[in-house]
Each structure stands twice: as C-alpha cells, then as structure tokens.
Symmetry: C2
Subunit: 306 residues, 2 copies
C-alpha cells in the first residue's frame, strides 16, 4: 500500500482516480484549489509554492498524481493568466519539490499536444513532428511534458506522463468550458439550445476505464514513459451521433440543436493510439458510449436534482 | 514617421533599437518594468494587463516592438514564476490589446526555439520538426510564437516575429543570467574567475547590426513572417576564442579561466540561417567580433567606471 497524493483530487478525473486508488487500499490524500470536507484533503493552489511546500513538509508521499490544471481550450483563452500560473508555474513547483523529496510523479498532459494532427496519434510523434497548437491550453500541456523531461534529466527523478483524450463521465461538473459530453447533457436536461459541429469525430473514453488504468501505474511504473489514454477505436462517433445518443436516452427531439459544420481552431478528427497503455498498464476500456453516456446522464440528474 | 512603442525599451536590445528608431525620426515611446527618466517612458509590467491597457488608452501606436521579456536560460529556471507571467501572460496581454487597437506588432522570440538542433537553423524548421527545448525560457519563446500566430488567425491582426541569436554589445548590463559576452567581459575586467566551455561554438551578432535590421521592419512589414537574426556565418568562433579575444584586448592572461568540456543542457553549436532577413529586411551584419567586442568592453568600462 502506497501513500499517494492526488492534486486536482476533487476535480473530474482526480475524484474518480481517488475512488479507484482507495478501493485498492492505498492511503490517498487529495489536494485541490477547491475546498473539501474530506479529512485527508489539502486546500492548495499548486501555483503557490509556499502552500504546496507546506504539504510536503507535513507528509511524505510515494506517488503524486498531478491532475490539477486549468482545463480546457476556451477556458485557457478566457483565463490565460490562471492557465499559465497553474499549469506552467504549478507543475514547475511540483517538479522542484519532487527533486527534493524524490516521490514518483504521474503528470497529466492531454491529447491536445497533437494539435491539428489528423492522422493517428502515437506517443513518439510529438518528439519528431511539430504540431500546430491552436490554443494556450494545448501549449501549456506540451510545456508540462518538456518540463517533466528536463527535470528527470536534471534531477534524476522518476516521472510518467499521461495524455487522456475525450474522457467523460460522472464527477465532471458542468461549465461552459468543460467537454462536449457534459455540455450537451446539461443543455439537453435543461432544454437549453446548443450547437453541434458535425464536422468533428471523437472516441470518447469513460472515466471509470481511465481511472483504472491510471491506478495501475503505481504497480507498473516505467519512468520517462508517456501514455495516450483513449477509448476503444471501435467507439468512434461523430459529435452529431453523440448528441443523438443523449437526446434519445432522454426521449427528447433535436429541436434545441443548431447544426453547424466545423468549430474554429479545433481538431477535425482525433484518432489516438493507446497500444502502449494497453501493453504497459493493462489499459482496457470496457464501457462504450451506449453505457457510459446514460451513466453520466443519471449522475447529472442526481447531482443537480434535474 | 510612425508612432512606435518599444516594450523592454530600457533593456539591452530595446535601448539600441530605440536609438536607431529615433535617429530615423520616428516618434518612439519606451515601456519597461524598470523606471526611466525619459519623458516618453511608461513604467509598466507587461504581465499586468491594467498597467498595459492604460498606455493604449492614452496613446495610439502604429507599431509595437515587444522586446520585454524575462531573458535567459538560467534566469528562467531560477525565476520561472516571473518567466511565465511576463513572457506567456504578458505577450498574451499585448495580443489581446492588439486585437482591439490594430497596431502592427513585432514580437521578439529567440533562436532558443531550435532547442538542441545541431544542423543549420532555418525558419520553417520549427513548423516541421519537433525540437527538444531544454529550458523554460526556450519553451516560453516557442509559446509566444504560437500565441502570435493564433492571434493573427483569430483576430486578423498583423504581426512579425524575430529570433535574435547571440546578440551582444553596449547596453547589455551584466548579471549572471546574461549572455556569455557580458559575463566574460565583466569577470575579465574585475579579475574574477570564470568558466569557458570549450565544446560550444557561436556566431555572435553585434547589437548595432541587429537594431538596424529591426528598425527596417517598419518599412518592410511582411505579416506572418518570422526572421532569424544572426551574425555573419564567417564569424563563427568557439567560446574559447571569444574568451581569448576579450583577454587579449585587455592584455590579460587566462589565469582566471577554468576550461571545461560542455555545459549541461545547452546547444553545442548554433548555426543560424538569416537569408530571409537579408532578403526582406536588408539584414547586413557589418561588425565582426574583432570590432564589436572592443566596443562592448569600452562601454562596460565607461558604464561601470572600471
């Protein structure tokens, strides 16, 4: 059993990961910019070094999952000050403390680092090819990966990086900046109009599947590796099909939907290769959208009393 | 005659550029985190939006040279909080104001964006190949270039980017984080020990030459272009030869010098292709190290009473 800290532990992927790790009997603490009633929670902004340093003075951890981040393409454009402070400075803070403390780090990147690449995304591509990154959020995540690699070389630390893509599911609270799944569900549940950009396709990954793979890293730690974490390629659907799936489950028609061709500065199709995560981490997505979307809708209904 | 703002206008390249632009009878204002007695100076931290916004509410500019930045590889590692705030957030602040005001922007990047590339550096390489960026300063400059490109596409603004490399000369004040030229001169003048990493070669570019080319952009503005700005390739010298040049001019021996093979996480050889700057901007370096180094030493003597 390991002592584990999950930054962003009250956030979407963080909360799911914490549940998974606790079910495996690890000793798990959370850390987040947000408050939590959990007795094992630290309220800390990772962009503020002193707050973070205090946590590590109080407790030694074997593993730190750094899932804290300003998330989302448009969030990063509207709140770029927060984005750079949390993502670039915050990650650097963690890397400096790691150099002193020696914990193993699992740092969260994003498939956004592939930019507008339209072919299959394999991990090593980012080391060879230059991708056009269309937003500051993507840039900050690419910066994080380089910061992690440089820190490993400079300080001899051990880290792994993960690139989730289109992860969705319970615990992802709605805001206008979240992924397309919570945005569509929120609007459909509240009968509010929303726009479907039909020119885009995605493979959605259910967070329960992602969390299991993430938790597996503790037992299969390959320092220096970066892993794509995507759903089953057979599950690729268009954004229009996603919308239909939600509306069908709710027995609603698409009267609230405006259809448009493409969203500006957004990848058309994301096809991600998660072979390495399957090989190293037993990544094995089980939940197709037909199951995961209804689960997520039910969580929304219960969470928001809808 | 144009109304021009130079951010970082009291800094090294900024101060030289301001002189050059004023000699050409442009109306030039400076802006810097530092104070200045100049009546046409704004004391502003570009990382602070309100301070920057006030300047543009007060004055309309035709051109803005954004030379303000946290500079230097090791400075960025030791002061990464300042680096990301000034370079990433600060540039984004300027781009947002540009979207409102419509001035033409000349944004300062760096040849650090070529990372550990050992071949000749041509501008389009960064769009094709992925380079290992070995420090946060390099990353922040690469981020700036992408921010500028995205802003041009999103807001229809007009910008040009420049990548100076190994620029040196008068007005570069000494700190431990500055370039190798002021570091060697400072130590040699003060008889303080310094280290020469013999495994590195550079082409040094005299700031007077750089400033002339930069000033030419106003008359030869090609939106979207990025320019390498380097010295004459014939002037390539090793770091050891640079040290000898300085010591010879000062009639000192190399007793204060420790020789080592290579500096960690630093490019071995930088060979930069400035053909595009020659074609578009009449970039035409005139001052070889044999002339520029003595000029710089004389400036140091006078500036620091040495």
């Amino acid at each position: 059993m390991a002592d584990i800290l999950v930054t962003g532990g009250t956030g979407f992927i963080g909360a799911n990961l914490v549940n998974e790790l606790r079910e495996r009997d690890h000793n798990v603490w959370t850390l987040d910019i947000d408050f939590s009633p959990d007795e094992r929670h630290y309220r800390v902004d990772i962009g503020e070094y002193r707050q973070l340093r205090d946590v590590f003075d109080e407790h030694d951890f074997d593993y730190v999952y750094n899932a804290a981040a300003e998330y989302g393409r448009w969030n990063g454009e509207d709140h770029y000050e927060n984005l750079w402070q949390t993502n670039a400075v915050g990650t650097k803070n963690i890397l400096r403390i790691q150099a002193d403390e020696g914990f193993r780090l699992i740092d969260f990147s994003s498939a956004e680092v592939y930019g507008d690449h339209s072919g299959t995304m394999t991990e090593e591509l980012t080391e060879e090819q230059s991708f056009r990154l269309m937003n500051d959020y993507a840039m900050s995540k690419r910066v994080n990966e380089m910061q992690v690699r440089n820190a490993m070389e400079k300080f001899g630390t051990e880290s792994v990086m993960v690139r989730p893509v289109n992860c969705y599911g319970p615990q992802e609270h709605y805001s206008e900046y979240r992924g397309v799944v919570p945005i569509f569900i929120w609007h459909a549940l509240n009968d509010k109009p929303y726009t479907v950009y039909e020119g885009h396709k995605r493979i959605f990954d259910y967070v329960g599947d992602t969390a299991r793979t993430l938790a597996n890293i503790v037992d299969n730690f390959h320092p220096g590796e970066v892993y794509n974490l995507g759903g089953n390629p057979d599950w690729e659907i268009s954004i229009g099909e996603l919308s239909d799936l939600i509306l069908d489950y709710l027995d609603k028609d698409d009267g609230i939907v405006t259809y448009e061709e493409k969203e500006e500065m957004t990848t058309d199709v994301k096809r991600i290769d998660s072979t390495k995560a399957r090989d190293h981490l037993n990544h094995d997505p089980q939940v197709p959208p037909e199951e995961g979307i209804p689960e997520t809708i039910e969580w929304f209904k219960s969470e928001y009393d809808l």
